[in-house]
Amino acid sequence: MDATLISLGLNPMPAKIISMVIICLIVLIAFVTIGGVLTVVERRISGFMQARLGPNRVGPQGSLQWLADGIKLILKEDLIPDGADRTLFKIAPYFCLIGVFGTMVVFPWGSGVMVADLNVGLFYFISITALVVFGVLMAGWSSNNKWSLLGGMRAAAQIVSYEIPVGMGLLVPILFSGTLSMGGIMAVQGWAPWEWIVFQSPFTVMSFCIFFIGSLAEANRTPFDLPEAESELVSGYCTEYTGFRYAVFFLSEWANLFVLGGLTTAVFLGGGNLPDFLADYTFLSVLVYMAKVSVIIFVVIWLRWTLPRFRIDQLMNLSWKYLLPGAFVAFLGQAIYMLITQHIPAVQTTVAVLMFLVFVFILIRFFIRVRVNMREQQIPVNSPASDVPLT
């Protein structure tokens, strides 16, 4: 873009700055829009899963609900509670926002479409998202409210604990690709599912599961949304927040959901890779990437409306007793597996295809189960026991 601006007669330096600002604005607006739209998507899906309709009044099928919500939140009064630490209270939401939006620097929108392909991209990714915990803890501390404080403390304990399994889980793809750059990790994968990192060996599947569960907890998604557990802590760290600051918290939460999906897709699910004969179509690559991200986001939302919330001790149990040892086993196992099979690519391919077939088999089993459940749900609630078939 700066080349175009230079050709229009601008000096190289201002041209660079202007093009950077434009790119930043595009990505920022894209993130805000995605974060907003995801709130509606989540509410619609949750409605469907509970046999409701969800918001469907504003715009066609409720598609403009997020704009209405945003306008409503911006118009509300910005309250700061008595006795609150005003400075911390005011800046806390922006820490969350920066923590999530900082990732857009290395966010891969498809193969070759990113703002900057840092050679420490993945490292940057997991370190900048750690800023969120500062924001949450600051919000909890500064609100002068016991619920908020409890929420903030829980968030700190939870995010710090789960950062370790997430980091360990990411070590396996790093081991496989030998690079920390997002572009590099995407480049070692192919377009076909058995060329994705997730299906390379049993250990990569394991690390994928650990990474996925851990990042759910890091993004404060149910079943790990203890920091804002509605039934216990009213609204956790955002209890005292109103208006625009509350909207910022929510925006960062849903943008985080998108970031989670994006990272998972890029690292484990082959990013936006296309078959060789389509490699020139960047737009198609972005589409493929977005489709994969949407599937991951759907799974996350789906999990939220399936599972009940963990208790805080169960949460710690899961992290330290199950995920962390599992991550170690996956890391060591993958290292040994790669050492043994490094000169026999045939074995690697066979194992990868086999893992993919196992996944397909599980998927088929799953849909059979779904059909059974669908039939069961069509039986009216009030029907006598004799009418209900045994499954």
Binding site: F48, M49, W302, T306, V372, N373, M374, Q377
Partner: protein, 214 residues
């Protein structure tokens, strides 16, 4: 010890698998939501049949919006006097003596005396202010012919308060009743005059006869 550990992991995955299949199935099964004010829930048969809950409606003794059966009303004004908050306004005029009948054409009995109800006055105004009404049911209990009673209707949102005043006598009916009352009045006047003349004549005759006897 180790067995329980792996059993936990297995349970974790299988229960999540089953739970997710249930929620996924629910996504595609019928929605239970009925978008109420837009959908007529009481007369829509497809909803009534498919609905899992109860669409039986209100119980029999539910006190909803008041309704008046003009044919039964004798304009006795008992309901107006019974109403503790004066939400009923009645005006009436004389009319021909009739016996009100119900839908089957049978004469209506007075509920308290068990005699046939007789209508001597016609309504020229019967307004019920639903905004004021507190749905106590006293008017229904007091009505001798059962003309006024509560319905099961509970949807009474209107655009403005004026719309909440239910008018059971239209302007046309009022005009007819008033005209008829004037006619009856005139007839009665004429009858009275005729009767008075007759009496006068009779008196005169008597006096004449008396005079003749003397």
């Amino acid at each position: 010890m180790m067995g329980a550990y792996f059993q936990n992991i297995k349970n974790g995955f299988t229960t999540v698998f089953e739970g997710m299949s249930i929620t996924f199935a629910t996504m595609f099964v019928r929605k239970e939501t009925v978008q109420y004010p837009e959908v007529d829930i009481t007369s829509n048969k497809t909803i009534a049949e498919k609905y899992k809950g109860s669409l039986m409606g209100m119980p029999d003794n539910y006190r909803g919006v008041l309704i008046l059966e003009n044919g039964l009303c004798t304009a006795c004004q008992i309901c107006q006097r019974t109403c503790p908050i004066d939400c009923i306004a009645i005006e009436n005029a004389k009319c021909d003596k009739t016996k009100p009948t119900d839908k089957d054409g049978k004469p209506v009995l007075n509920r308290f005396t068990q005699k046939e109800a007789i209508k001597t006055r016609a309504l020229t105004r019967f307004d019920i202010n639903i905004a004021k009404c507190m749905f106590c049911g006293l008017c229904e209990a007091a009505c001798p012919t059962g003309a006024i009673h509560h319905t099961k209707q509970f949807e009474m949102n209107r655009e403005c308060q004026e719309d909440l005043v239910l008018r059971f006598v239209s302007d046309g009916e009022k005009e007819i009743a008033v005209k008829r009352a004037e006619e009856i009045e005139a007839e009665a006047e004429a009858k009275k005059a005729a009767k008075a003349e007759k009496e006068k004549e009779a008196k005169e005759k008597e006096e004449q006869e008396k005079g003749a006897e003397e």
